[in-house]
């Protein structure tokens, strides 16, 4: 069951496992788990998806990456977001390796392209902070 912001947007509900990610975002830091054998992984998990180890640590990463793939939603596939169209959704490949999906903000939707360099942009919405990405020079 999703919950919604005062402006109607769908919001995440952190679990005990994912809470450090959202706490980091509130401090404008992108924090990911890093397994000592397999490196960074995303989304937050109880166990490393490569080795099922639990000796991972949270670490702050650069927040930089590249648009791996994207689309511009013209209709609002989530009816809660229908009033926000058009908006860009991308799979961003972080420089540290993992991929995450996020909105691309800070540019026209038609300016988004595969390979575009982006950096994390943190947006406080009610009691949570959403991680989005915006274009950056390199």
């Amino acid at each position: 069951m999703m919950r919604y912001a005062s402006d109607g947007r769908p919001l995440p509900t952190p679990t005990d496992t994912s809470r450090p990610f959202f706490e980091g975002a509130r401090e404008k830091r992108l924090v990911l788990q890093r397994c000592p054998r397999d490196g960074f992984f995303f989304y937050p998990r109880s166990h490393c998806p490569s080795c099922l180890g639990v000796d991972w640590q949270w670490e702050t990463v650069s927040g930089r990456g590249s648009v791996h793939a994207f689309t511009v939603d013209r209709v609002g596939h989530d009816p809660a977001l229908a009033s926000q169209v058009p908006f860009a959704v991308a799979i961003v490949e972080l420089d540290e390796g993992p991929r995450m999906s996020a909105n691309i903000v800070g540019c026209e939707v038609d300016a988004v392209s595969v390979g575009m360099r982006v950096e994390a942009a943190f947006e406080d919405v009610d009691d949570i902070t959403l991680v989005r990405f915006r274009p950056c020079g390199d």
Partner: protein, 400 residues
């Protein structure tokens, strides 16, 4: 020479419709499908000792026992398969494998997808088709609910659109090439009286000028959800040989999955269909060049293009050229694809939409395709794609 232990003996396929005239519970629809498919195969109900379903809204828990009780079945192998668009293909090979190892002898594959009657205390929304935007991803604790849905990555179209965007960047695919898939499938639908888009052919220009939904995908590259239903009977070779139709052996099969959200696919452009198809072809001992027709899951045009590549009919990155060079039409095409019009032309009736790709292959092999019958079909490739290019199942079907 592949597996010959189990064969499809009969089918039924209901004509997809946007509005279904009579609300029907899944139990009721399953009973009707069972009656019709057993009549088609001329197999008695008492011979059935197995069934496979994709869930049962009237009994979310204990679904198999609820169905056995309602239909009066005595089942030795009862499965709920949960693979989205790959569910029906997954059901066929599970049934064939169960028959081969002796777990059962005759299995019903039941894919009802009708609107249930509304509960009496709720407003009348009879027959209205509404896909839930979150597809269950909003459950408490779901990674999707925390990391995908807040970005607007809901339903399926935006994910497939992202695959198309990446493919275009990597391999230079033209939008007109994807449009050709929709146009030629729609052409095939013109000869299928059960296709929702019969009587409505389209052109490349129609596709290109249709509404942009999620760039680069446009409305006419996207399946239309419908109500409907379908069923198969899978039985032993011996029993199938005593049925009225040409037995269709489940000669090879494979299945693969790695992820739910596209974000975490190991490779966006290397779908799990490759491993599913490789296993199916190897099991059947069949070369790609021997296939008479392909029946590929087609929720979107880009799905077909990736499937042509990943199922091994051409090299990675050459799918665009393949589509440009080949004629996919049933009437004279050199590489007939989705001769029933695919789901793009026929409509997507829930998991029965995925079943339509198997059913069409069976129909062609049994020589029952009427107006869209191909001259010779002994060997067919059929596959299903579930979720966000996630669940993948493949079949090699072979006429006896």
């Amino acid at each position: 020479m592949g597996k010959r232990a189990a064969a499809i003996a009969g089918f039924v396929e209901w004509t997809p419709q946007r509005v279904w005239p009579k609300p029907t519970f899944a139990l009721e629809a399953a009973a009707q499908l069972a009656a019709e498919v057993l009549a088609d195969a001329e197999i008695a109900k008492d011979e059935v000792d197995s069934f496979l379903i994709g869930g049962l809204p009237e009994s979310p828990m204990f679904a198999p026992s609820a169905l056995a009780e309602y239909l009066g079945l005595r089942s030795n192998f009862s499965e709920v398969v949960d693979l989205g668009g790959a569910t029906a293909v997954g059901m066929v090979w599970r049934a064939a494998a169960a028959i081969e190892v002796g777990a059962c002898e005759t299995a019903l594959i039941l894919c009802p997808s009708l609107p249930p009657p509304p509960p009496p205390d709720i407003g009348n929304s009879m027959g209205k088709l509404q896909m839930p935007a979150y597809l269950g991803g909003d459950a408490w604790g779901s990674p999707q609910g925390q990391f995908e849905l807040p970005a607007g990555l809901a339903a399926a179209t935006p994910s497939f659109a992202m695959v198309a965007s990446r493919y275009m960047d990597r391999f230079g695919l033209r939008e007109e090439t994807l449009a050709k898939i929709a146009v030629q499938e729609r052409h095939n639908a013109q000869a299928n009286p059960q296709a929702i888009f019969q009587g409505k052919p389209i052109s490349i220009e129609d596709v290109m000028s249709s509404r942009r939904v999620a760039d680069p995908l446009k409305l006419l590259e996207i399946v239309m959800p419908c109500w409907g239903g379908g069923a198969l009977v899978v039985t032993t070779r011996e029993r199938a040989e005593r049925a009225p139709h040409r037995p269709v052996f489940v000669s090879g099969f494979g299945e693969h999955l790695t992820h739910k959200s596209l974000t975490y696919a190991p490779d966006l452009l290397e779908s799990p269909i490759r491993l599913a198809a490789d296993r199916a072809f190897a099991m059947a001992g069949v070369e790609r060049s021997a296939i008479d027709m392909a029946s590929m899951y087609d929720c979107y045009t880009i799905t077909v293009l990736l499937t042509i590549e990943d199922a091994g009919f051409c090299k990675k990155g050459e799918g665009g050229a393949f589509v440009e060079e080949h004629d996919l039409r049933f009437d004279g095409g050199d590489w007939p694809l989705n001769t029933h019009g695919g789901q793009l032309g026929m409509g997507q009736a829930g998991i029965a939409g995925g079943l339509s790709h198997v059913t069409e292959a069976v129909r062609q092999i049994q020589g029952r395709a009427g107006e869209h019958q191909l001259a010779k079909v002994d060997l067919a490739y059929a596959n299903g794609t579930g979720g966000m290019l996630a669940e993948q199942s493949a079949l090699i079907l072979e006429g006896a």
